[in-house]
Subunit: 295 residues, 2 copies
């Protein structure tokens, strides 16, 4: 019987939305809470939370810990978008079909909202010990911090900044994306696994799955930036080319980029097959969705 | 015999500088590491690290954990200064006697350096378990995240933003500073204590000490903004007034502000006396230094 990703996702997404709405506080002072909620709620594919849940299921992990990890990963993603959209970065005015946070709340509030969302991500991972065992809390903080910082997302953004108007080789482009987008996607998978216990073999396989799926996500992002329209994508299209940013499409062309995405999907699925985990259907379906999505 | 704070501090400061230099990586990509190091190294009083060490000593805590907590607190402080100096915030060009990070490296790199420093703070608190026990890691992450986020520093910044040009009551001003500066100073004390084990009585007393000393720090900051000169202070003076920001001096005047700082110092010392901890000399000397400092 075919795995029904939509049905599987529906329950998880409902729990994530409810939890984010509860945890991203409205009562933060002086409009900060409003800006934080605007940045996080009612938008996004919630891919990172779904990856956390899928890996947690594969590892028979603790769902309460996974819910916190899922929301934390999404908060890091949301904060990165807020900062990335600022005038000193991409200067973007449209995100998920709505005005960006700084357009709506001003640059200073957007800056603070991003900063506070990053802190809140770690706060969610470190609740009272009665809620999540300390070793799991520590492991989740470790994974998230490494993926968000200089070795991961922030480092990738710095390479991105420095690459405007330059031609990168494929290894350079891959390294940029591995950090900028891939690190947090892979960390989402590994955080899900850290909510349970997996063998070393499964751990390595999940890391390979996360790396391949994370890169595939970015290759498809580059493709959609060229082929989709703004309404479907919910954000400004063609912005990479407009900003003279190197992309897979500018490097390999559209056809070879599509082939590359399919090859990475194959790598991700093979890694799952090697994992020895009994049920990786959700992880497999998510990788397929990442590559075949239209927005 | 009088406690010699300078002698006590010298060893701690050397270890903090060495650790920060090792942990704030130079090899972060595309100039990011350089901007991060510029923001953190060779500057600052390192008050937060000293508070961590002093509280750790009082609690007979683990020094390896304290060193990580000390550096993590300083990284949060450093990132907040980088973001606070940005043009969309205070638009300041001088910090610790040097050009601010965005003047030197550009706004985008300054934004990313701040973001990466916050992530690095949590990365330092969550190393491999062989280095720091998981319950201590989790406790440190919990304390730091809460003090840095919407309920602490970022929330205080939001109130600060919203208060420009307004007259605040003393309770409102206190609440702003409790979050903006006080939360991280208090968390530094409590992180030091979390590296060891303290009684509930000592825990409460240290919280009261941290609250009083944290507020005293800000009252004195407001005084120095009026009375010091830029060379001694290493940053632009008179900037609060120039930005029409409410301060203790604008609210209470200079003399009553000084009296208030001394009263808070007394509260801090009384809390230490109540703590039941055998050796709180360093904590006591730091509170005295905070109130009687000249920069």
């Amino acid at each position: 019987m075919k795995f029904d990703l939509a049905a599987w996702s529906a329950d998880k997404l409902a729990r994530v939305e409810q939890a984010l709405s509860a945890w991203v506080v409205a009562d933060a002072p002086a409009g900060l809470g409003e800006a934080m909620r605007y940045a996080v709620l009612d938008g996004g594919k919630r891919l990172r939370p779904l990856l956390v849940f899928a890996a947690c299921e594969a590892a028979h992990g603790d769902e309460a810990a996974a819910l916190r990890a899922a929301c934390a990963a999404e908060l890091i993603h949301a904060y990165s978008l807020v900062h990335d959209d600022l005038p000193c970065m991409d200067n973007d005015v449209l995100r998920r079909g709505k005005p960006t946070v700084h357009v709506k709340f001003g640059q200073a509030q957007a800056l603070l909202a991003g900063d506070a969302l990053q802190a809140l991500a770690f706060e969610l991972l470190a609740p009272d010990e009665a809620l999540v065992p300390a070793p799991v809390q520590a492991a989740l903080c470790r994974l998230l911090a490494r993926s968000a910082g200089h070795a991961g997302m922030a480092g990738g953004q710095a390479i991105d900044l420095a690459s405007v108007g330059r031609v990168l080789t494929e290894p350079q482009l891959r390294e940029m994306h591995r950090r900028k987008t891939g690190a947090l996607l892979q960390a989402s998978v590994m955080m899900g696994a850290a909510c349970g216990v997996v063998t070393d073999t499964a751990h390595s396989a999940l890391q390979e799955y996360g790396a391949a799926m994370g890169l595939a996500f970015q290759v498809v992002d580059d493709i959609l930036d060229v082929t989709a329209d703004s309404a479907a994508l919910g954000k400004t299209v063609g912005k990479d080319a407009a900003h003279s940013k190197p992309t897979y499409v500018s490097l390999l062309g559209l056809e070879r980029s599509r082939d590359h995405a399919l090859q990475l999907l194959d790598e991700a699925q093979q890694a799952l097959a090697r994992s020895g985990l009994p049920d990786t259907r959700a992880l497999g379906a998510l990788a397929t969705m990442v590559v075949h999505r239209e927005n």
